[in-house]
């Protein structure tokens, strides 16, 4: 059996999700027995333009990136969006609160005209995506599970329940009871509730569950002193691609 050819690509991002892939370390050596990694610029010099599976990290923030991404889609049989920037837009979308000319002006002043940038968007706004591995950064166990499922031709199991479920299973004291705010009730699980476990509110980096009860969650946030705008601003930190869906 020929091994599937796997490529990693990055667009606008911190490359932290690819780095998580490198942290699977000894298991990575096992994984490379099952696949051929043909392009992984952060870790290797060889590269090839023929591949079956493409992992794509980062958001799209330049016109030229759109064509590059479409080529990846045309070449790969399976495209997996890797991490918040690729799946829900991530923090790159925070600049979308301004007109692009304003953004360029803030950063470059009188040289603003020399820069090309478009409103940031997740890769799914440009191409069809087969699977998503959520998070900022991704969770390495979830990466291994999803990759294994794809390699054996099964549909990966992605949680459609909120972070609260995982948090309760860990027997954490609810952060709202401690007077803190948290996006756990509306955010997709799969991170093992890592932030609340370390006593920090969930910031929604894995995106909303499919059917979130936003109005009830917004009430909860307002009981804890947030205005509606501040609540929406919380959702927008990582999921800022569309303000409309939070209204």
């Amino acid at each position: 059996m020929t091994k599937p050819r796997v490529a990693f690509f990055s667009f606008s991002s911190c490359e932290g999700c690819q780095l998580v892939v490198l942290t699977i370390e000894e298991q990575l050596l096992e994984l490379v027995k099952l696949i051929d990694i043909v392009s992984f610029r952060e870790a290797m010099s060889e590269k090839s333009d023929e591949y079956d599976i493409a992992f794509v990290e980062g958001s799209i923030t330049r016109t030229s990136e759109i064509e590059r991404l479409k080529t990846i889609r045309e070449t790969a049989k399976t495209v997996i969006a890797l991490g918040a920037c690729a799946t829900i837009g991530g923090i790159n979308c925070l600049k979308n609160q301004f007109e692009m000319n304003k953004v360029k002006d803030i950063v470059y002043g009188e040289m603003a005209d020399n820069y090309d940038t478009i409103p940031a968007r997740p890769i799914e706004a440009v191409i069809k995506v087969d699977y998503r591995i959520q998070g900022c950064p991704i969770d390495k166990d979830e990466f291994i599970e999803v990759t294994k499922a794809i390699l054996i031709g099964k549909k990966p199991r992605i949680p459609d329940y909120p972070v609260c479920v995982e948090c309760q299973m860990k027997e954490n004291v609810c952060l709202f009871e401690k007077g803190m705010v948290c996006l756990g009730p509306v955010t997709r699980a799969g991170c093992k509730a890592i932030c609340p476990t370390y006593n920090d509110g969930c910031v929604g980096c894995r995106g909303l569950i499919d059917d979130p009860n936003l109005s009830s969650h917004k009430n909860l946030l307002s009981e804890h002193g947030l205005t509606v705008d501040e609540a929406i601003s919380q959702y927008m930190m990582f999921g800022g691609n569309s303000k409309e869906k939070y209204k």
């Binding site: 690819q18 998580v20 010099s45 923030t61 330049r62 803030i106 890592i194 476990t197």
Partner: protein, 430 residues
């Protein structure tokens, strides 16, 4: 080889996207530049209008490799703007976390990104066949550092517990005790690392330049200190703009910088040159064993300086854990009051000095952000090194010339995503 053209597109085994263009005609360099083509991310605009409490979530995402340093620097800038002084315990925990990031970043660089060049293979996967034990040792050491990051920071990429004021959750004392034992057990692995890198032949090349790093009177400065130039003394972090002059070049999307001369170097070798006397005694011995003499003007030796710092950080972590345990870890809570002000944080990142500046309004909303990144500061110096190196190696085969050039760029451990949080876009059509 008197005439040649090199166009290395998307240099590999570095973080981010960069190209190298070199044109030599009749033995003279007609053109030499390192193009930075990474996408712009406009971090300076992202945090505007947000609460000071949220800013570290955003700035951490400048870089996946040195997220701890970005978070630390961001927090220090905010604390300085608020006039808040963290406790000694918090500072020690931050230093421990920073040590862990230095170890994981340096190990990743020297074992996985640099070592393959010495074996003429394209990646660490290519080293597995003949040097499996070496690769596994690199992985074990990196895992150990990741584990320390997770123990103190919650996770190693985009740390969770590292907050303005104090840690949101302290590590368990028993876990710190157990971890100290693991470091002690790992000493033979560290010795083997030193032996491995001692035996790799670093290219010979020297070019003295200006070295810039933080400096402290009583320790090897990583977490804090004044800005020191090997040319002309010290500057306070708040006055960083007096020292660091950023400038734009047409071919790069990241800002360059200069200080006293037309370029300067930051990173492990700059710190080694500026602060040698404060290295842990074992780290000094290791430097000598690996042929790294103080001061050193060979930029390829930055790799070796990273191994020296790895030893330093391991030993320093043992002392920090002992200190933390002897006082017992207290749960802390910080009372923060928003107020208008300006704050600058300066920290050593694995790749060099990192600056974050923030201005807040009276409600604690961010009104201004500026971030000066180590790799951006090194870019002009890398080009100056290449201009000095290339004429000296023209008698080599083209493949060897390219390898020498790539190895030089990699020695700086460039982190281009970081450096192009803002950039000028220009495509190079060769």
């Amino acid at each position: 080889m008197h005439d040649f053209h090199v166009g290395i597109e998307h240099i590999t085994r570095v973080e981010g996207h960069g190209n190298i263009i070199i044109d030599v005609k009749e033995g003279k360099i007609r053109e030499l530049r390192m193009d930075i083509v990474e996408s712009p991310r406009f971090f300076e605009a992202m945090a505007l209008g947000r609460s000071y409490k949220e800013v570290a979530h955003i700035t951490s995402r400048i870089c996946g490799i040195c997220a701890v340093t970005h978070t630390t620097t961001s927090i220090k800038a905010i604390e300085s703007a608020l006039g808040f002084e963290p406790s000694i315990q918090t500072i020690k925990l931050r230093k421990l976390l920073l040590n862990a990031e230095f170890i994981q970043s340096h190990i990743l660089h020297v074992y996985f990104l640099t070592a393959p060049d010495f074996f003429r293979v394209s990646s660490v996967f290519g080293m597995v066949k003949d040097n499996k034990e070496t690769v596994l040792r690199g992985m074990r050491l990196k895992s150990l550092a990741n584990e320390l990051c997770a123990l103190v920071g919650g996770r190693h990429i985009h740390p969770i517990t590292l907050k303005i004021g104090c840690f949101s959750k302290n590590p368990e004392q028993k876990d710190l005790i157990a971890f100290k034992e693991k470091i002690i057990k790992a000493r033979p692995e560290i010795e083997k690392t030193v032996e491995f890198f001692r035996n790799l032949k670093t290219p010979e090349f020297e070019r003295e330049t200006e070295y810039v790093s933080l400096t402290c009177p009583d320790e090897y400065a990583l977490y804090d200190g004044n800005i020191k130039s090997s040319d002309n003394g010290e500057t306070k972090p708040a006055d960083y703009l007096d020292k660091v002059k950023e400038f734009m070049v047409r071919h790069a999307t990241a800002k360059h910088a200069k200080a006293n001369r037309d370029s300067y170097m930051v990173g492990a070798l700059a710190r080694f040159n500026n602060n040698y006397e404060h290295l842990h005694p074992r780290a000094k011995e290791v430097a000598e064993e690996m042929g790294l003499k103080h001061p050193c003007y060979n930029p390829y030796m930055n790799n070796i300086a990273q191994v020296v710092e790895t030893v330093h950080c391991f030993e320093d972590s043992i002392s920090l854990i002992d200190d933390l345990l002897s006082n017992g870890l207290q749960d802390e809570k910080a009372e923060l009051t928003p107020k208008a002000g300006r704050g600058v944080g300066a920290t050593e990142a694995p790749r060099g000095t990192l600056y974050h500046e923030h201005k807040l309004d009276e409600n604690g909303k961010i009104t201004y952000g500026n971030y000066v990144i180590p790799t951006g500061q090194n870019l002009a110096n890398i080009e100056n090194d290449l201009k000095s190196l290339v004429p000296k190696i023209l008698n080599k085969q083209k493949d060897d010339i390219i390898l020498d050039i790539e190895m030089l760029v990699r020695a700086y451990d460039p982190c281009i995503s970081c450096a192009t949080h803002l950039m000028k876009v220009e495509f190079v059509n060769e």
